[in-house]
């Protein structure tokens, strides 16, 4: 069962910032500067945490995980957008 997470980060060094960005791109959608929305299973969360832990410096940087609850059936309820629209892709498959 996946849950939605907002992952926000504040990284002091450019090189680490890029590494964190690159890692998170593999896990979720880039919503804003330094904010990703990821759908993660408990196992995914542990793997992602491990990957980020290996990059950041514990005493300078910070990554926050904000749990928005189970992905399924959440719809767009918990996120409201002003200005640019927020939309969530939710289809059973991807077709290009």
């Amino acid at each position: 069962m996946r849950s939605s997470f907002l992952v926000c980060y504040d990284i002091c060094d450019d090189k680490r910032l890029r590494q964190v960005f690159k890692t998170l791109r593999g896990w979720g959608d880039h919503l804003q500067y330094s904010v990703f929305e990821c759908q993660l299973t408990p196992a995914d969360l542990i793997t992602l945490r491990g990957q980020l832990k290996a990059i950041i410096h514990q005493d300078e940087d910070q990554v926050l995980f904000i749990n928005l609850g189970p992905s399924e059936g959440r719809g767009d309820r918990v996120i409201e957008a002003l200005g640019q629209p927020y939309c969530r892709m939710d289809s059973p498959c991807l077709i290009v």
Binding site: R25, G26, P42, A43, S91, L94, I95
Partner: protein, 605 residues
């Protein structure tokens, strides 16, 4: 003849970690150690993450003679073995003073609290620690106690390595070896609280396996009752038999598997696209212009239709992530697939090949599959036909009884063909697009299309509905080929469909009962909900094909059906059709390994 078991048990060292599993659950030990299966869940991943620090570098442990001269030694991640007992252990940490060594083992969870409130160790951990002590002793060290360090509470538990514990451990080693030699998987634990957190639960299917065993057992005992009421040997239409059902009622099937696998399939359909990869994200480009990015983490399979290029790097990353790539011709013909090295559980495949040689087994399984298919066809007619044709329904019902009497595969094939004819004769009655809103369209002045179905034709399909059905069966064959491969069976050796070059016979076997439920139903909703319209078809030679756009619509209809939750008639829980295909394939593996007697074909209610 050389038996695998002869080679394996002769001089193979038994890892301490596996003995831990054996004490936890002998079946888990068997699946991991004998069948070589493994899966991660959040608990094992967290354990692995903790250990990655401990295991970051492994130290060399000085020999016991050298150690006597040293003051104290801290050695991390040391692997030692014992020839005498045939054991091997990886020790997280060894603290030694002279030649007196103490193994320290790191555990992810919390210690056990004993009745008197003091802390204790869990049985599997105690045994594992004792193995480590035995291995240390054989390497010349003295070892009187060991320490278990539990991460969750950061507490240490000391264990004295006394004769009683050594005797207990050696008895377990002997039992584990006996199990390896016996080549018979132990029965699942019954209603055990250990199962929900076990990482192999979706492979082991403990409750489902027990349920199928109990069910068939009680069915057989009723049938053989002299003078007793004869119960139809149909798995799903008899409901729960009343008399002998205690064992079933006392252990309801818990839903231990997730109802959906949230990873999605990717369909690449636009000719000339180019797919590369950068840091776990697939980049799909059309003439150097990036049109979409897809995370590997989101995918369970990649389907390629026609001329689409994948870079070697992209294929490599897909294989590493264990995502199969499936190739189709532009017209939807299933060519084959690329997959990672995959499962090594050769023992299951050996059993599959053995059983495929048994006519009795093939016929028994084929009967189940055909019966399931006919019953599902009947259900689909009942549910979707404008005016369910009473006579045809009766006839299909009669044919399921005919199936039971069949004495050869050829006879069965005849019954199946008859059922298919009757079913497809009435297929048109399930299509509900009025002729007003889908007026036949002139194409090049000579072809007229309408959703009008007379009979099934293929190679090539000659009308729109047959084109959809053919594409749908092709997709389903693909999904079951993937399911069979991921379970560890050979998709090319079937039981009902006889082997032929390049034919995924096992996938075709398994898909029989699902044809009406998944494909036919997806075709009906694609048409009835206008996801595909009459303008989505073109004529190519004497064949009717879908346009790129029409195909997109049908993929969506098919995947919507695959994503739909359905109640399993036997286990009572809800899973998506995609998950169901995997569960059913695993149950077939269970039958091949002799654990359950009858394959429980999926029939919808």
């Amino acid at each position: 003849m050389i038996r695998i078991s002869d080679i394996q048990s002769a001089d193979e060292l038994l890892p301490a970690r596996m003995l831990n599993e054996f004490v936890y659950c002998p079946r888990l030990f068997y699946l991991e150690h004998v069948d070589g299966l493994f899966a991660h869940n959040s608990d094992t991943l967290e354990g692995a993450a903790r250990h990655s620090r401990v295991d970051a570098k492994s130290d060399a442990l000085p020999t016991a003679q050298e150690a006597v001269q040293c003051e104290s030694i801290h050695a991390r991640s040391v692997t030692l073995s014992s020839e005498q007992y045939g054991l091997i252990a990886k020790l997280d940490l060894i603290e030694a003073e002279g030649d007196l060594a103490t193994p320290v083992d790191y555990k992810r969870g919390a210690p056990k609290s004993l009745d008197d409130g003091s802390l204790g160790a869990w049985d599997p951990d105690r045994i594992q620690l004792c193995v480590q002590a035995l291995v240390l002793r054989e390497n010349g060290y003295r070892c009187d106690e060991g320490i278990l360090f539990y991460w969750a509470t950061r507490q240490r538990v000391r264990i004295t390595i006394d004769d009683a514990l050594v005797a207990e451990t050696l008895a377990i080693v002997a039992a584990a070896r006996r199990l390896m030699d016996a080549r018979q998987i132990p029965a699942p634990l019954v209603n055990s609280p250990k199962c929900p957190r076990c990482s192999l639960v979706s492979i082991c299917l403990p409750d489902e396996t027990s349920h199928c065993r109990a069910y068939v057992a009680c069915e057989q005992s009723e049938q053989t009752q002299p003078g007793g009421r004869w119960v139809q040997p149909l798995l799903f239409d008899v409901g729960y038999p009343a008399a002998n059902s205690e064992s079933i009622e006392s252990a309801p099937v818990r839903q231990l598997i997730t109802s959906r696998d949230e990873r999605r399939p990717l369909y690449l359909n636009t000719q000339g696209n180019h797919v590369g990869i950068s840091a776990q994200v697939l980049k799909i480009k059309e003439k150097d212009k990036l049109i979409q990015e897809v995370r590997l983490n989101d995918l369970c399979q990649v389907n390629i239709f026609g001329n689409i290029q994948l870079t070697t790097q992209a294929i490599g990353a897909l294989m590493t992530a264990d995502i199969p790539v499936v190739y189709f011709s532009y017209g939807g013909w299933f060519h084959g697939m690329t997959q990672s090295v995959g499962l090594k559980n050769i023992l299951w495949r050996r059993e599959q090949f053995r059983q495929a040689d048994s006519n009795r087994f093939c016929l028994q399984l084929a009967k189940q599959l055909v019966k399931g298919k006919i019953r599902n066809q009947r259900t689909l007619l009942m549910r979707n036909h404008v005016e369910p044709p009473e006579q045809a329904l009766q006839f299909l019902k009669a044919l399921t009884i005919e199936v039971r009497r069949a004495e050869s595969l050829a006879e069965l094939l005849g019954v199946e063909g008859l059922a298919a004819r009757v079913y497809f004769e009435h297929f048109n009655g399930m299509i509900k697009v009025g002729s007003d809103d889908d007026r036949p369209r002139q194409q090049n002045g000579k072809h007229e299309f309408r959703f009008d179905f007379e009979r099934r034709n293929r190679r090539p399909p000659r009308d729109p509905i047959n084109a959809l059905l053919s594409l749908g069966y092709s997709l389903l064959a693909k999904d079951l080929t993937i399911a069979a491969t991921s379970v560890g069976l050979d998709p090319f050796l079937g039981f009902y469909h006889q082997p032929r070059f390049g034919r995924p016979a096992l996938a075709l076997d398994l898909m029989e009962p699902f044809r009406p439920l998944i494909v036919d139903s997806a075709v009906l909703s694609a048409i009835n909900q206008r996801m595909v319209t009459i303008s989505d078809f073109v004529v190519v030679g004497d064949a009717v094909a879908l346009t790129a756009n029409g195909r997109k619509g049908f993929f969506r209809a098919y995947e919507q059906r695959m994503d739909q939750l359905v109640t399993h008639p036997l286990f009572g829980y809800r899973v998506s059709y995609r998950r169901l295909l995997e569960v059913q394939t695993r149950l077939l593996a269970r039958q091949l390994m002799g654990e359950i007697l009858e394959y429980p074909v999926f029939e919808t209610r």
